[in-house]
């Protein structure tokens, strides 16, 4: 077995073992499955899902579903993933990996495999729950399924790389709320995931358009809505070319940043640093 194949297979062994941990610990499994989001989606859908958006006849529930699909991707990759990386750094998992031949590589393969599975499961959870509980539409044709597939693949790719970069920069898991959760919630508000993007002022639209979430949500909408609804989008079309372009640009940014940041963080990880952090932590809780 060559080195790459071995890293992949050992990384997948790690992923299987991490999944076993999830299965054994229902509270973590529960947070890994974004159940709270799905509940929120169902509540929102039940209350105002039937209202058409701005007299367009465009059902609001589809907008929510598309928004929550995009959010499911972002939450798994840009929130849960960096927090997991920071936690692993704090408890010495990364340092342990550093002392094992190709340990950091198999660790990352394992982590990413779990993240990808989390994305798939949570996206499916949103789509199926929405269809069952809210009668929301699934993609209606083979080409819509294909659209959903490439939008999600590109989104997941970009967001996972970004998540790795964020995780490498995150000082610790406790800083996750300020560093990641709040900005993500802000983006969620301005990116057309729950509030129609067309209602945002021009400046806000311009800001949101720099980030991937807006394009993810719009891309998913293009797979869920009937083609005719494209006229209600900001540009009057689904903008597939722009969507692919922006997401690809983020893939490139992530691919450049993530490996360097991860390598830098890994290099700085030593036993004495771990010890220092532990002392600080025990001082904080007043031991």
């Amino acid at each position: 077995m060559n080195r790459t194949a071995r890293i992949l297979s050992t990384g997948l062994l790690r992923a299987r073992l991490e999944l076993r941990v999830l299965v054994r610990n229902r509270s973590i499994l529960f947070s890994q499955l974004q159940v709270a989001n799905v509940v929120m989606l169902v509540v929102l859908g039940r209350i105002i899902g039937d209202d058409p958006i701005g007299g367009s006849g465009q059902p609001q529930v589809t907008l929510f579903v598309a928004g929550f699909v995009a959010l499911a991707v972002c939450q798994a990759t840009i929130l849960q993933f960096p927090l997991a990386l920071a936690t692993d750094r704090e408890d010495g998992t990364l340092l342990r990996a550093r002392g094992i031949p190709d340990g950091v590589a198999t660790y990352l393969v394992g982590k990413v495999a779990v993240v990808l599975l989390t994305v798939v499961v949570n996206v499916a959870l949103v789509l199926v729950t929405a269809a069952v509980a809210l009668g929301a539409p699934m993609p209606s044709s083979a080409s819509s399924w294909l659209t959903l597939l490439w939008v999600l693949a590109l989104s997941t790719c970009a967001a996972t790389l970004l998540g790795a970069a964020v995780g490498a920069m995150l000082p610790g898991a406790r800083q996750g709320t300020g560093w990641v959760l709040l900005p993500l919630m802000g983006l969620m508000v301005i990116s057309g995931t729950v509030i129609p993007f067309t209602l945002m002022p021009g400046v806000v639209q311009a800001v949101a358009s720099v980030f991937p979430l807006r394009w993810m949500a719009q891309g998913v909408r293009s797979a869920l809505y009937e083609p005719a609804y494209a006229v209600y989008e900001v540009a009057g079309s689904w903008q597939h070319l722009e969507t692919a372009g922006v997401l690809l640009a983020w893939v490139v940014v992530g691919a450049v940043l993530a490996p360097r940041l991860i390598a830098r963080t890994t290099r700085r990880e030593t036993g004495s640093k771990l010890e220092e952090r532990r002392h600080e932590a025990s001082r904080r809780v007043g031991i």
Partner: protein
């Protein structure tokens, strides 16, 4: 087993380390031969951890030449990494994993690992294979760390405070296991504050104070080097008496001559590693 061409597993020349303007290591020279336990001792802040982290390839040095198993650890290859085992302090990772799962995962990185169950058996954790790591006691956790350190059949093992938190029985059995590993050709670099442990396990002790190597030799060499008095203790008319002397033989002769059969419980305790350590550290730090 393949050390460097000159037979040294570790070879350090003029190693220096500075964090900003703070100099931590002031030019260390150290050669460690293949096999056996070498203990690196010193007070906190002496530079032990920094030295070990440089040798482990975890930290970049400021200057000097370092060879570990023939390679520069700062540019360690995968092959090099698989010949080195590391047991550090303060690991709390993988708390929710099962013991055997983590050992099996670690073992999967090596070409000829010790089977996971066997590694656990060696460390007396055979019955804990299915336990959740976070539920282990401190001593069990440390033994797991050691099992993970040796699962890849390393040629060189870095051990940092391996028996901190062990009860005496666990410490004794750990020393026996380590003895077996060393008999099979393993080279160990031990850092510890437990001087009795260092004296018992190591054939060589290296003392680091203020970023410099200040003593190097067997525990007995070090003890002899300090000219400390020997403590003689005896019982005389039911009373325990002690006296410190640099000529213990003469004192004992005199005692027998004076008290004859009234004398009992004579103990002669020459200066040990602890005496030597305290003496040398105090001298160097003043």
């Amino acid at each position: 087993m393949s050390a460097t061409s000159d037979g040294h597993v570790i070879s350090v020349r003029d190693l220096t380390m500075a964090y900003g303007s703070t100099r931590v290591l002031e030019g260390i020279d150290l050669d460690v031969e293949e096999g056996g336990v070498t203990a690196l001792l010193g007070p906190n802040g002496a530079g032990k951890t920094t030295t070990v982290e440089i040798l482990e390839g975890f930290r970049r040095r400021s200057g000097g030449d370092v060879r570990v198993l023939g390679e520069d650890p700062a540019r360690a290859s995968r092959a090099w990494r698989s010949r080195v085992g590391i047991v550090m302090q303060s690991w709390q990772d993988h708390a929710r994993w099962r013991v055997v799962e983590l050992v099996r995962y670690a073992a999967a990185h090596y070409d000829h690992p010790v089977p996971a169950e066997e590694a656990l058996e060696m460390m007396g954790l055979g019955d804990k294979a299915q336990a959740t790591i976070g539920d282990l006691s401190g001593g069990q956790r440390r033994r797991l760390d050691v099992a993970l350190g040796i699962v890849g059949r390393p040629e060189l093992l870095f051990l940092d405070e391996p028996t901190a938190g062990f009860d005496p029985a666990a410490r004794r059995s750990f020393h026996e296991v380590l003895g077996t590993l060393v008999d099979s050709g393993l080279t160990v670099l031990l850092t510890t504050h437990d001087l009795a442990e260092a004296e018992r396990l190591s054939r060589r002790i290296v003392l680091l104070v203020g970023g410099q190597l200040v003593a190097d030799g067997s525990a007995a060499d070090l003890a002899r080097s300090i000219d400390a008095p020997t403590t003689v203790r005896w019982r005389e008319d039911g009373q325990v008496r002690t006296e410190k002397t640099v000529e213990p033989d003469a004192l004992v002769h005199r005692l027998y001559a004076t008290h004859g059969s009234a004398l009992s419980g004579v103990e002669v305790r020459p200066p040990d590693l602890e005496d030597a350590y305290l003496e040398i550290v105090a001298r160097e730090e003043s």
